[in-house]
């Protein structure tokens, strides 16, 4: 491996040879460690650090930008930024409104109107459901949850 660089350096796997030779081998090991493996270690550490920072950045980004996800049945109907005020017609049966970063159901043609009596939602994990029409409004993306879910 390092032969030629120094006559005294021998591969670690050299025959069992006790005494002075051995201490020589350890030294040569450190020399090897410094050269090739240090570079490799540095590479891995930087690689891991880079990945780590990248993920943190991604999570932060997601936390700052919660989105409104609308489902009809089990299909995604659309995804909307909460930062932009707007009114969304969900098929013919429901209308919801995004205002100042919060979402509310403003119209439903269903019989029970439970969704119209739901609190406005803005935080990750919160949802409004119109069960008869199978419409679900759900906040996704953010990771700063105060409450994980609600028992009803």
């Amino acid at each position: 491996m390092a032969e030629g660089l120094d006559e005294n350096i021998k591969p670690i796997s050299a025959e069992d040879d006790f005494g002075e030779e051995k201490s020589y081998n350890i030294k040569s090991g450190i020399a090897l460690w410094r050269r090739a493996d240090l570079i490799l270690i540095c590479f891995w550490i930087f690689f891991a650090l880079g990945l780590f920072l990248f993920s943190i950045f991604n999570i932060k980004n997601a936390a700052e930008n919660p989105k409104l996800e609308i489902l009809i049945g089990n299909e995604i109907y659309g995804e909307y930024e909460l930062s932009e005020d707007r009114t969304i017609n969900i098929g013919d049966g429901n209308i919801c409104e995004i205002k100042n970063g919060s979402v509310r159901m403003t119209y439903a043609d269903c019989p029970d109107k439970t969704c119209l009596h739901s609190r406005e939602i803005s935080k990750a994990g919160e949802s409004i459901v119109c069960l008869p029409n199978h419409v679900v409004l759900k906040i996704t993306g953010g990771s700063d949850r105060e409450i994980d879910t609600v028992a009803e």
Binding site: F47, S55, G125, E152
Partner: protein, 322 residues
């Protein structure tokens, strides 16, 4: 030399990654099954695959337990030709559990309440109070003691008897999802089955899940208290869930199989916290039906391992803790 270095590098790599790796693994999804919104969040294991499997289980269960869905196993059982029917393991176990809770609640919890429930029809556009004769007629068909379960065979004494597992099926299904996830080595997930919350393990950082409890008669999503759970479930039942007003009187959906009318109770809500999803689901309804005093007696006599929160008409909160 190299061989001793690699583990160090590898461990460093894992340590640096694990700070956020937990977030990266998460998968969550929402679906509508058996007329219920199912919300599942998985934070451990092969999250995407587990999530898809969980929804497959929900679909399978919908085809078993949905009393309204034509062609479901329960629907076929209710529209049977013979009074002795062989059913699947799932349906048999759930009916067995339902009969057991009928027994320990002395008939307050009755899985044969379907004719009465259909008569009241709380899901209707404009629900109304049925006439007394209609209620009497429907009540004749309600009696859980006319249902027997032998192995996987359900035997009915009466061809009019119909089963509704609404008060227990959600608990049965969430227990099934939980068991599946644990069996797959997943130790962090949160299941919300139409308001029944069930936790698998704890959060990935080891802390407990924070579950809000709906305030009775407030806007949906209004939380009056939170409970912290791991490996347990929280189920709330109450008069606020579904009701209508007629002639100035409120009629809620928790029907008393003795009278055929919504049960007269001082309780607005009961939340049950425990490790057995089926027990919590059934017991939350039973508590509303039999009232606080009898409920406390039942819990003590049967040595049920639960915590209970009672909310009465004055919004007073009372805890039963171990």
């Amino acid at each position: 030399m190299k061989s001793s270095l690699f583990p160090i590098v590898f461990i460093l790599y894992i340590i640096l990654l694990s700070g956020c790796g937990a977030e990266g693994k998460e998968a969550s999804g929402t679906g509508v099954y058996f007329d219920t919104v199912v919300d599942i969040r998985i934070c451990d294991g092969d999250a995407d695959k587990l999530l898809a499997e969980c929804f497959d289980i929900c679909e399978e269960m919908e085809n078993v337990f949905s009393a309204q869905k034509e062609g479901s196993e329960l629907y076929r059982l209710n529209h049977r030709n013979s009074n002795s029917v062989e059913v699947s393991d799932n349906l048999a176990s759930c009916i067995k559990a339902g009969l057991y809770y009928g027994e320990i609640s002395e008939g307050a919890f009755d899985i044969t309440v379907l004719p009465l429930r259909e008569l009241w029809d709380f899901e209707a556009e404009d629900p109304s109070v049925p006439s007394e004769s209609e209620i009497k007629e429907a009540l004749k068909k309600v009696d859980y003691q006319k249902v027997h379960c032998e192995g996987n065979t359900i035997i009915f004494d009466d061809s009019d008897t119909q089963i509704d597992l609404g008060g227990i099926a959600k608990g049965y299904i969430s227990a099934k999802l939980k068991a599946y996830l644990l069996e797959q080595g997943c130790n962090s997930a949160l299941i919300n089955l139409g308001g029944n919350v069930s936790a698998v393990g704890s959060k990935t950082d080891g802390s407990e899940w924070n579950v809000g409890i709906q305030e009775p008669f407030a806007e949906r999503g209004t939380v009056f208290d939170t409970v912290q759970i791991d490996n347990r479930c929280v189920v709330s039942s109450g008069t606020y869930e579904r009701y209508f007003t007629a002639d100035g009187k409120q009629y809620h959906h928790i029907l008393d199989p003795g009278t055929g009318y919504p049960v007269e109770t001082k309780l607005q809500q009961v939340s049950v916290i425990g490790t057995d999803d089926v027990l919590c689901d059934a017991l939350s309804t039973i508590c509303v039906l039999i009232g606080e005093d009898r409920a406390l007696e039942l819990i003590e006599n049967e040595a049920l391992d639960v915590e209970v929160i009672f909310i009465d008409n004055n919004h007073e909160e009372k805890w039963l803790r171990d």
